[in-house]
Symmetry: C2
Amino acid sequence: MKRINNPTSPSAEAIATALTEAVHEHRVLPGMKLSEDEVGEIFGVSRTVVRQALRTLGHEGLLTIERNRGAFVAKPSTKEAREVFEARALLEPQTARSAAERTTPKDIEILRRHIEEEHAAVAAGKSGLALKLSGEFHIEIARIANQQTIETFIRQLVSRSSLVIALYWRRRNALCESHAHHALLKALGEQDSDTAEQLMKGHLLDLVSQLDLSPQPDEPHSLRDALLA
Amino acid sequence: MKRINNPTSPSAEAIATALTEAVHEHRVLPGMKLSEDEVGEIFGVSRTVVRQALRTLGHEGLLTIERNRGAFVAKPSTKEAREVFEARALLEPQTARSAAERTTPKDIEILRRHIEEEHAAVAAGKSGLALKLSGEFHIEIARIANQQTIETFIRQLVSRSSLVIALYWRRRNALCESHAHHALLKALGEQDSDTAEQLMKGHLLDLVSQLDLSPQPDEPHSLRDALLA
DNA sequence: GAGGCAAAATTCGTATACAATCTTTGGCGA
DNA sequence: TCGCCAAAGATTGTATACGAATTTTGCCTC
């Protein structure tokens, strides 16, 4: 399957993006195996390129790569889940504060549309899409804060939060239609950095409180559970 | 050069570690090109493995990978340099606080030896080694805090700090024999979390103050400079 | 029929071949 | 002599081949 200079064959980056989106939208769930051959055939590239993409996602913590066994969508333990939100609690409130100090009307417009899309997704019952958009809202704030380094970290943390939510969210069907993003938008628009920081802090605490991280962190066997249920 | 199951041929991870150390010790400086063939020949593996290692370091921000051009040791701009230390300022003080709350005598012993090695390196004039050890001290604190996620971030930030120091440190020859690590050790040993947090905060500010981030961030041409000097 | 072992099939790891791109160099013309 | 263009050389990008490890499957024994 040699395809020289063929623009229809996506690059490693494109594959990584596609896989990331699939995970963010919960169309691919924690524990699922991503076979190199299978992914390669789907995207029409050789394993060489697929491996690049998989390793990229591995570095971001989205996949767990086991030698001679393959790449699996990561299944963060409850400890990891807590760590992810602890890290976000350290980074994001201050980032929201910085963002508030430099938000432009153009940024506000971008965020407003973002929230609109989120609402539309929720209304259409596309909870996966809604979740992905919700995460991107946080990344957008890091972008406004003009902190590329921290943005990269937050991007990773949001990614892994998707996995955490897939595993530990309390009420699967409940719409997480919170007012938090609206409130943040307002604070940013008013350049109210104190409020922005506090809102972000509270928002993250709210998210954690919606997780069920108490019981046993190690799932026994998914197949067993499925058949015994 | 096929070497099947040959234990003398290092894995991608081993190569990545070796390269990372070389950069941390300033034996490989920002801007230097890492040719795949060259690195492969040095370590006795094919380009396949080298490329893996280089991409790993690329994801950590230690290398800049330009398509069809190769991998170069990253040259952080002054903005990036500031961002790195701003991120550290968000993560490390709180991490030092957490570490203080759970430091064991064994940890203290490890840190004490670490500082000893640092002193020995400084005394022996091995400034590169001293710098590497100094960075590892910070990572060790994150380990004690039992925060793997944050430890990974700090590891990246310390890495990139090495590059920043290579580029922007004011007094090249001056020994940075600060008392900061000693003081931190003492606070950790006494489980004094408030002091540990404050010391770490101050330590990071001290480091930044030793950098010259004001002038033009873009160097013109190294060869030109060398020949006109 | 259950357990264990061995062979087959699948999948990953690495080396290598070749294509594509970039860089350098040589030559040509103004 | 300077500048530009083309060809040669060097380096990276991707596909593929084959070895190694794992997983599965089938068979044999108890």
